[in-house]
């Protein structure tokens, strides 16, 4: 049995239409230990969500494998298993969606929504058992159990996200992919939901893959962080190492753009030239070279590979070893 609960290897996802081929995700690999939270960050359009969906098999990846160690200790390649096996394993990997307003069926009561996964996965379960499990889980995520016969429209954004969490948890999964799970919420509600996720992680021994564009949230919740740019993983490291000593220039630029919630402090922003390139027609060499201030000739012609460095970090940059990059370090504003 391997140490890792999820071993994501060389995931590719290509979307093709008539004559264009967009590489939404190309060659992403990482490993997840049980109980860990992996944060995935990047700008919109970098393939975070596609990666998340590929891992839960919401969409089929073009290439790659996800080695998953199930509860009973057997290993599966989650992306290749057939329908019969899938039925066994599916319930252990669940997803929480971004938009709490469109991810709940407006014509089902909250109880029905939370129960539905049970109906699908345990057809022999009686109604009483199902109800009991659902109500327990609803209470656990902080929903008022007397409101369960209502429809989603009667709930606020934070409450709806709790419903989404309850629905994902009712099957007692091991791994949850949270796709921008708190982005649509207000700060104070965000804090509530994040606290809930952290609590549940402890209680139920969950493993999260936490996809978000909000770096401060990711820093709070994750043990390790992967930074994506244009479909590729450019850096993967322990959270505090990544925030203090980034190795990839893109990470550095991303960190410098994080707004500091303190008016007396500031971060000197590293401007990124231009925009994120068109993924249908990516630049040569390193995808980031057009916007990188450390670009050399080699970057234009040769594509850097994600290399593993001592200490369990990996980075895809030709100059990673020589560059001294700045981490997230706000300084006092001059008066």
């Amino acid at each position: 049995m391997s140490d890792y609960i999820l071993d994501v290897q060389h995931i590719h996802k290509r979307f093709t239409s008539k004559n264009v081929c967009v590489k939404a995700v190309s060659d992403v690999s990482f490993k997840v230990k049980k109980g860990e939270t992996i944060g995935i960050v990047g700008e919109s359009g970098c393939g975070k969500t596609t990666l998340g969906r590929c891992i839960v098999r919401g969409i089929e990846a073009s290439e790659g494998s996800v080695q998953y160690t199930a509860k009973d200790g057997t290993e599966y390649d989650f992306l290749k298993i057939d329908k019969k096996e899938m039925k066994k394993v599916r319930k252990e990997i669940q997803m929480i969606f971004q938009d709490p307003y469109s991810s709940l069926d407006p014509r089902m009561t909250v109880l029905d929504i939370i129960e539905e996964p049970l109906k699908a996965n345990y057809p022999k379960m009686t109604k009483e058992e199902r109800n009991k499990l659902s109500i327990d889980i609803a209470a656990k995520v902080g929903l008022n159990t007397s409101y369960l016969m209502r429809y989603p429209h009667a709930f606020s954004g934070g409450q709806r996200q709790r419903i989404g969490i309850a629905r994902a948890l009712v099957l007692e999964p091991q791994v949850i992919v949270c796709d921008e799970a708190v982005s649509a919420l207000d700060v104070s509600i965000q804090a509530q939901v994040i606290n809930l996720l952290v609590e549940l992680r402890k209680d139920m021994n969950l493993t999260y893959i936490f996809i978000s564009h909000d770096l401060s949230v990711v820093e709070h919740i994750s043990n390790k962080v992967g930074v994506m740019y244009l479909g590729k993983m450019v850096e993967f490291a322990q959270t505090d190492e990544l925030f203090q000593y980034p190795l990839h220039p893109y990470t550095e630029a991303l960190l410098s753009a994080v707004p500091v919630a303190d008016p007396t402090m500031q971060v000197e922003r590293i401007p990124l030239q231009g925009e994120i390139p068109n993924p249908a027609n990516p630049p040569s060499g390193c995808y980031f070279h057009e916007r990188c201030r450390y670009c050399i000739d080699k970057c234009v012609t040769e594509e850097p590979r994600l290399e593993e460095l001592p200490g369990g970090r990996s980075v895809a940059c030709h100059r990673a070893k020589e560059l001294k990059l700045r981490g997230f370090a706000p300084v006092k504003k001059e008066a």
Binding site: S44, N144, V187, A191, Q192, L215, S216, H220, A253
Partner: protein
């Protein structure tokens, strides 16, 4: 209403006692319950609060572009370039005069650039609309002005972009175009309603810097509406924190982060995670913003407040008072701890008493104790009947369930699920 607004010469907009009511089938929803603020020339005022607190309605009310169901009352004094100071609410909302103000002297950046543009017209055409209406009828000249503005906001290849449609732009570029459209007439007041919420951090930082730069150029005032405290720290000179249709605290930006006084402000600032600090748990304000229908007497934040004083906060509405230069607060709890000598002596025992009550009483009794003062005192004040009957019931019910939020939709008949 005591007047706390500053009335200097360089005040661009002076909002006084603004109220917005929305008439619904269920009753009248008071979305904004009497707010006052001023913005000076070249100043950025941040209006901060959770969704549903009335931020956006306030901004739209200034321009008079709210939905017809929303009835706005109060006064909005705006210093126009032509007619001196006028009350915008006195103007005919479809008249010529307000149309001379909208877009030209006050303009707005909307939250979602993808929605704010019409997909049917080119970007150039839409920016041009403003200049043709307000600056010049000459087509060539107006195109020149628009192009110049597009270049200024950092749209590369402006000539080509001018003839493109919104779907050909990325989110960040479209937001730039929206800013160009808002600024092309060099307004005196810019209302920015969550201008960067839909954007990535890197683009967000660019757009904010751009807005600051242009503000310096034109010297306009900005009303910056957001719920993101990170951008507030970066952008604003002063901050007004809004909760449930009221401004609960106003202060200069350094002051509000260094020395927040209102429990809600403290909660908001506390719930933002600061990178580099390790915390097991984020501070969070329990519950959600209640629906502003049949609001209880007293402070709107009472239900969620962790410094509430029973028998005072749920009975008497706190009025704004100046606690420091430029720092205005609406909270009873503050006055109880520290402040003028007169109140200190008389109130300290009250606080201790209530604290003791909280500790000593089991939940059941606390509920009753909670109900009584509300009921009796309100009867004395002759408050609205529905509020009287509804709120204690809801409150106790909610406490009994140990659950937060959902006041507006809380009919107490759930629980039929088994």
């Amino acid at each position: 209403m005591n007047h706390i607004n500053d009335t200097g010469n360089d005040v661009v907009v002076d909002v006084r006692d603004l109220k917005i009511n929305i008439h619904l089938e269920e009753g009248t929803l008071t979305a904004v319950r009497g707010i006052d603020f001023t913005i000076k020339k070249g100043e950025t005022l941040g209006l901060v609060g959770e969704s549903g607190c009335g931020k956006s309605l306030t901004s739209k009310a200034i321009l008079g572009i709210n939905d017809r169901k929303c009835k706005a009352e109060g006064e909005v004094f705006f210093t126009t370039t032509t007619n001196g100071t006028v009350d915008l609410f006195q103007l005919d909302p479809r008249g010529k005069e307000i149309r001379g103000v909208r877009g030209k002297q006050i303009s707005m950046i909307f939250q979602e650039p993808m929605v704010a543009f019409s997909p049917m017209y080119t970007i150039g055409n839409q920016i041009n609309e403003c200049t043709r209406l307000h600056i010049t009828k000459d087509k060539k000249k107006s195109k020149e002005i628009s192009l110049e503005m597009m270049k200024k906001v950092g749209i590369a290849n402006a000539e080509k972009r001018y003839d493109q449609y919104p779907h050909e732009f990325s989110g960040g570029m479209l937001q730039r175009a929206l800013i160009a459209m808002a600024l092309v007439c060099k307004p005196k007041l810019l209302i920015a309603d969550e201008p960067t919420t839909a954007l990535d951090v890197t683009i967000q930082a660019q757009i904010l810097e751009l807005m600051k730069e242009l503000q310096k150029d034109i010297g306009m005032a900005i009303l910056f509406i957001t719920h993101d405290l990170g951008t507030v720290a970066k952008m604003c000179d002063r901050v007004a924190v809004m909760y449930l249709g009221k401004i609960v605290e106003t202060a200069p930006v350094e002051e509000i982060y260094a020395n927040p006084q209102h429990p809600y402000t403290k909660g908001l600032i506390g719930s933002v995670h600061k990178i580099g600090t390790k915390k097991d748990k984020l501070f969070s304000i329990e519950g959600t913003v209640p629906l502003a229908l049949n609001l209880p007497e007293g402070c709107g934040f009472y239900e969620r407040c962790n410094e509430r004083i029973e028998g005072l906060c749920n009975v008497k509405e706190p009025l704004p008072e100046s606690i420091k230069d430029g720092h205005i607060l609406c909270c009873h709890a503050h006055r109880k701890d520290k402040s003028s000598e007169g109140t200190k002596v008389s109130t300290e025992p009250i606080k201790k008493e209530t604290l003791a009550k909280k500790e000593a009483q089991p939940a059941e009794k606390a509920k009753q104790a909670n109900m009584e003062p509300v009921g009796t005192k309100k009867a004395g004040v002759q408050a609205g009947v529905t509020a009287d009957i509804m709120n204690p019931v809801l409150e106790t019910a909610k406490k009994a369930e140990g659950m937060s939020g959902e006041i507006g939709t809380a009919y107490q008949e759930g629980g039929k699920n088994e």
